[in-house]
């Protein structure tokens, strides 16, 4: 198991290097003079020269790349052009907001998706199965920004049940400890604040959870159907085990391997896909951070934001790989 983990970790190295190359390349792929593009047509030649120097663009590219790598390893993610702040310091609250939102959305997606998929497979071709699968089909086909807009319109504007913007009510503040407000409010023991945080999470989390829920449900169903047809489940049936137990206790463990892949993949995609949800719900996460940076052509922020998200994505997939080993005893031998 340990050697497997280390091997997988070593295999990540070329991927991570490739990733930094691509992110590094973003600024160099901009047609024309990047500094000019960033500052706009009215910029003075002096300002352009200064920015070029600040970004190190006057150096040969490989020197720039090694400087870039060195900076990343020393925890320096560059400086934002917009507000001249170090990105490494600025990025954490945004990242925390995204992680909180994605985590809640993933919990919803896993609980709803897996159960819907299991029941669909168990009661294959029943009305329940059909309705679940039609819903799942619509779920994977839904533009989540559209769903978010409709949610806001229905639950905030028409019914006025839930807030539609931000992580907090405008007037309140939460003392950031971890920047994960669900945890921060509980540490402080402020339960009304906690409730407020939860209410703000509901709509964006549902919007963000829609696609993963649908994908997990579909994957669970097909994986489960496959397992239920297998010889070893027939063996279990031949022992006289009841169907409910067969499905939840035995078959689920087998069926879970492809489901886990999907969960890992979707968790990563969520971190990236949150950009749409975050712009709609004014959620100050990393997606919104990058989105705003794009509007301002703040390339260092774009680069670092993308790098951080991609790094998280790769790490999530790495952890997923390790989790296989816990479920599937055969994996140790590969």
């Amino acid at each position: 198991m340990l050697s497997y983990s280390i091997k997988r970790l070593l295999m990540l190295i070329p991927v991570l290097i490739g990733m930094t190359l691509i992110v590094f390349g973003i600024i160099h792929a901009i047609p024309g003079n990047p500094a000019q593009t960033i500052l706009g047509t009215k910029a003075t030649p002096e300002a352009i020269h200064n920015l070029n120097q600040a970004l190190g663009l006057d150096q040969p590219w490989y020197i720039q790349y090694f400087t870039y790598l060195k900076n990343i390893f020393s925890g320096n993610l560059g400086t934002s052009i917009q507000d001249n702040m170090p990105i490494a310091r600025e990025i954490w609250p945004h990242l925390a907001a995204t992680i909180e939102l994605s985590f809640v959305a993933m919990v919803i997606a896993v609980v709803v998706g897996i159960n819907a998929g299991i029941i669909s497979a168990w009661k294959q071709n029943s009305a329940l199965d059909y309705s679940a699968m039609i819903l799942a089909l619509i779920g994977v086909s839904m533009p989540i920004f559209w769903l978010g807009l409709l949610e806001q319109w229905l639950f905030s504007v028409k019914l006025n049940w839930l807030p539609s913007i931000g992580r907090l009510d405008i007037v309140s503040t939460v003392r950031p400890i971890t920047n994960l407000y669900l945890i921060d409010t509980l540490i402080e023991g402020q339960f009304s604040q906690f409730w407020m945080v939860v209410r703000h999470l509901i709509l964006p989390a549902i919007a963000l959870a829609t696609i993963p829920t649908a994908i997990i449900a579909r994957m669970t169903r097909s994986s489960m159907l496959e397992v239920l047809k297998s010889d070893y489940i027939r063996t279990t049936k031949a022992k006289g085990e009841r169907m409910g137990l067969i499905v939840y206790k035995y078959a689920l463990k087998n069926a879970f391997i492809p489901i886990l892949t999907v969960i890992g993949l979707q968790t990563g995609l969520m971190l990236g896909g949150a950009i749409l949800t975050e712009t709609i719900f004014g959620w100050p996460g990393i997606g919104l951070y990058v989105y705003n940076a794009i509007q301002y052509r703040d390339y260092p922020v774009i680069q670092s934001g993308i790098l951080v998200i991609a790094f998280l994505f790769v790490m999530v997939n790495f952890v997923t790989d390790l989790l296989y080993g816990l479920i599937d005893p055969r994996i140790k031998y590969r």
Binding site: M142, P143, L150
Partner: protein, 299 residues
Amino acid sequence: MPQSEQNTAVQPAEEEKGPFVRNLLEFWKSFRKNKPAIVGAVIVLFFILMAAFAGFIAPQGINDQNINIRLQPPSASHWLGTDDFGRDILSRIIYGSRLSLRVGFFAVIGSIIVGTLLGVAAGYFGKFIDTVISRFFDILLAFPSILLSIAIVAVLGPSLNNALVAIAIVNVPVFGRLVRARVLTVKEEEYIMAARSIGMGNTRIIFNHILPNSFAPIIVQGTLNIATAILDAAGLGFLGMGAQPPQPEWGTMLSSSRQYITNAPWTVLFPGLAIILVVVGFNLMGDGLRDALDPRMKN
């Protein structure tokens, strides 16, 4: 199912048709039984016809503005209402189908061509070539897809065509890996061993045996990817990184209408429904094709 010597005799009438036609007939037979797939195909056909004949069907032009009738609810003269410039939403949706289908088809065709070439090379030749190409796929796949397309658009500048290019690039590894895996599986099949045993060379094996047997999964994945490409294009449009107003791209329409959602929800509702419908169509058709083409489902 056991088959007997006598009972497999095909009717002479069917026998006269070429093998290709009979293959097609057989495919159609199993596809026809799949009702959801038919529904999907009908939806897709509907949108294709709509795009082709937009000029004839649309009651008004794309940009026929009339400030006097801005933000009107659906009515007999404007079935789906009007937007903030008084443009007919139905007409814009009809014209918009051209943009969405264009992005969907061409992005996917681009990814298929590049992905297949790389995938075949990696799978068939293996070793060093495989390592390089596979690492390249790994790196591209290390970015969440929407984020990578945003990054590409951020570099190329926002426009529908750049969004198309971005989506195509992002999907290259999807097809590349699919084809590579398919080639690896097919390569191990006994009929490839048989082809080698009769003295056949590499090129001929790839073109006569491996590619035809990789065709079905590419078609299936391609159909499903048109669906996601349309969704991604709409998402980019919504973020202002795809089609630019006044182009009637559905995501872009949503983005420019979102401020009117309270007073004129139809301006948001209908473009969204159009996206869902066409995406559902491609998804259903893709699932249906998988069932009809997947050799594992066939006896």
